[in-house]
């Protein structure tokens, strides 16, 4: 039996520590990982829990991230609660096996500390790795601070392991800005947290000798499509399960989560749409602008990046005049992917707000309240004039001459 871990009602934890505590409380059976900055402390902390007897599960150190996720697939297929952590290059090396995990409907939980992808080498936070997982078939939850990294990791097990879902779940937090920033965290007791997550109930586990099963069957053009369609249905239909899990978590903790978070959007004229810690920084900017200049600014944040909440995003934004969608990943020859998804969602309504795209914060470049205010004011100017006066895609916080692409045809 695991040794009792003493928790205070109020802790000061960084996001990595918070995530590792959630993994401990969920009583994970197997954690297989290959530590990489900035997610290293999650594995390090969890390893120390094992060394000091605070957990009963296994910790497997492997030789690469590809092996880490492969070990997770094996352990999960065998019928255990399984988790891992990674970032950036490690995430990229896992990519192949991510698709195996989701295709086999294995409810692995992965805490991802978002970090830029090389080259050039960079250990700091941006969303390049998270974007790489966009089509992998994993549910992707986004934390905006350390406490949320803790909360959402607990929720991740409950969502992924639900028998109607049975999908792997990533819980994203921003490298350094969340993972290495200590903030107040109000943890739930071990008993309550475990009761919330619940016992792991295996499905089709390979260690059930009364019902041997084949994993990883080959399906060519006659079967593959049907299996992928069913998998898509599973992730799309996870939405009510996610909502119900968030509701139950609110009853437990008093902390409310929604798939799309909206701040000051009731009367907002201009909005920023963002992911991660930027959401909260932009929220401070919106509040200050409302107070200082009377600009009706609001923030829309995506809590659940996959399944993408098209239905809720468009409702959140349909009454604003101008929106800027912030992408924290190098777009590689296109508009930001997040911009494209939000714009597509809006296009299914009659509303036609002016939508611009900012690429920002690459490689951990700071995003300040002042810059958020500048973006809000620029949207206000677009709203007042009635069309976009700048390039549609611009770069925020970049040194050098003004840089952007594409002009509106609506002006």
């Amino acid at each position: 039996m695991a040794v009792k871990f003493d928790l205070n009602e109020r802790e000061v934890w960084d996001g990595a520590y918070a995530a590792s505590q959630a993994l401990r409380q969920a009583q994970v059976d197997v954690l297989a990982a290959y530590p990489i900055t900035p997610s290293t402390p999650i594995v390090e902390n969890y390893g120390s829990y094992e060394a000091n007897g605070y957990i009963d599960g296994e910790v497997i150190m492997v030789e690469s991230e590809h092996a880490a996720m492969s070990a997770c697939v094996g352990a999960s297929g065998s019928g255990g609660r399984v988790a891992t952590a990674t970032s950036s290059q490690g995430f990229a090396l896992m990519a192949e096996v991510l698709y195996q995990a989701s295709g086999m409907r294995l409810p692995i939980v992965m805490t991802v500390v978002n970090r830029a992808l090389a080259s050039p080498l960079n250990v700091r936070g941006d969303h390049s790795d998270m974007y790489l997982g966009r089509d992998s078939g994993w549910i992707q939850l986004g934390a905006f601070n350390a406490e949320e990294a803790y909360d959402l990791t607990l929720c991740a097990f409950k969502i992924g392991e639900d028998h109607s879902v049975r999908l792997p779940v990533m819980v994203h937090q921003d490298g350094f800005t969340t993972s290495h920033t200590a903030q107040n965290v109000y943890p739930i007791t071990d008993e309550k947290a475990y009761k919330f997550v619940g016992d792991f109930k295996p499905v089709d586990d390979m260690l059930d000798f009364s019902r041997p099963v084949t994993y990883g069957a080959q399906t060519e053009e006659d079967w593959h499509f049907e299996h992928k369609a069913r998998q898509h249905k599973a992730i799309m239909d996870s939405r009510p399960v996610i909502d119900a899990t968030f509701e139950e978590f609110e009853k437990l903790s008093g902390r409310k989560y929604k798939r799309v978070e909206t701040y000051h959007m009731d009367d907002a004229e201009v909005a920023i749409v963002a992911l991660g810690t930027t959401v909260e920084t932009a929220l401070v900017a919106a509040r200050e602008l409302r107070e200082e200049e009377g600009i009706k600014a609001g923030v829309v944040a995506i809590r659940v990046f996959r399944p993408f909440p098209l239905d809720q995003v468009r409702l959140a934004l349909k009454d604003v005049k101008a929106v800027s969608v912030l992408d924290r990943s190098a777009p590689g020859g296109a508009m930001g992917a997040f911009f494209n998804e939000v714009s597509a969602a809006l296009y299914t309504t009659n509303a036609r707000p002016l939508v611009t795209n900012y690429i920002y914060g690459l490689g951990g470049r700071d995003f300040s309240i002042a810059e958020a205010k500048r973006i809000f004011k620029e949207q206000k100017a677009h709203a007042d004039i009635g069309h976009i006066t700048t390039d549609i895609q611009k770069f925020s916080g970049l040194r050098g001459p003004e840089f952007g692409y594409f002009q509106t045809l609506r002006g």
């Binding site: 086999m104 409907r105 990883g216 399906t219 006659d222």
Partner: protein, 152 residues
């Protein structure tokens, strides 16, 4: 003379393995393309012989590929030394053997590749390929004599 359904369950080779017709829709396929091999409780299956096992329709046991064959291997008990080479090498587990004694061919799953004949060490061979439509009697009656070693 070999029984075509040598040591077989009723459902061995029941279905034709053909693509494209009457296949399940997306709403009917298994979750995660995970396929249970047996019907019902399979506890203790490891100690049961193949013909005693209740294979499910997801298992290739219940499918047949007999129609893929142009030539078929015929087994001659009189020459075989039960070395098990063919059993080891057959890529489709279509050699039926019990207690290290060779019994014959699973003609539902044999595709007629000829590997068993190739690896057979006896002189003459104990397995030879014949046309799919030739009878066992004809095949056995045409069996070659022992070859003499050529003098060097």
């Amino acid at each position: 003379m070999q029984d075509l359904k040598l040591l077989a369950q009723d459902n061995r080779g029941l279905y034709q393995l053909e693509a494209g017709e009457d296949l399940l829709g997306w709403h009917e396929v298994t979750q995660g393309s995970i396929l249970p091999s047996f019907e019902g409780d399979a506890t203790g299956i490891a100690n049961m012989k193949q013909e005693e096992r209740n294979y499910s329709h997801y298992n290739s046991y219940t499918a047949t590929v007999a129609s893929w064959r142009v030539l078929k291997p015929v087994y001659n008990r009189d020459i075989c030394i039960d070395c098990q080479n063919c059993w080891v090498w057959c890529p489709d587990t279509s050699i039926i053997s019990r207690d290290k004694q060779m019994l014959g061919i699973d003609y539902d799953h044999c595709k007629g590749c000829g590997v068993c004949v190739e690896v057979c060490p006896t002189n003459p061979k104990s397995l030879l390929m014949f046309g799919e439509h030739s009878s066992f009697e004809d095949a056995l009656s045409q069996w070659p004599e022992k070859k003499k070693k050529e003098k060097k």
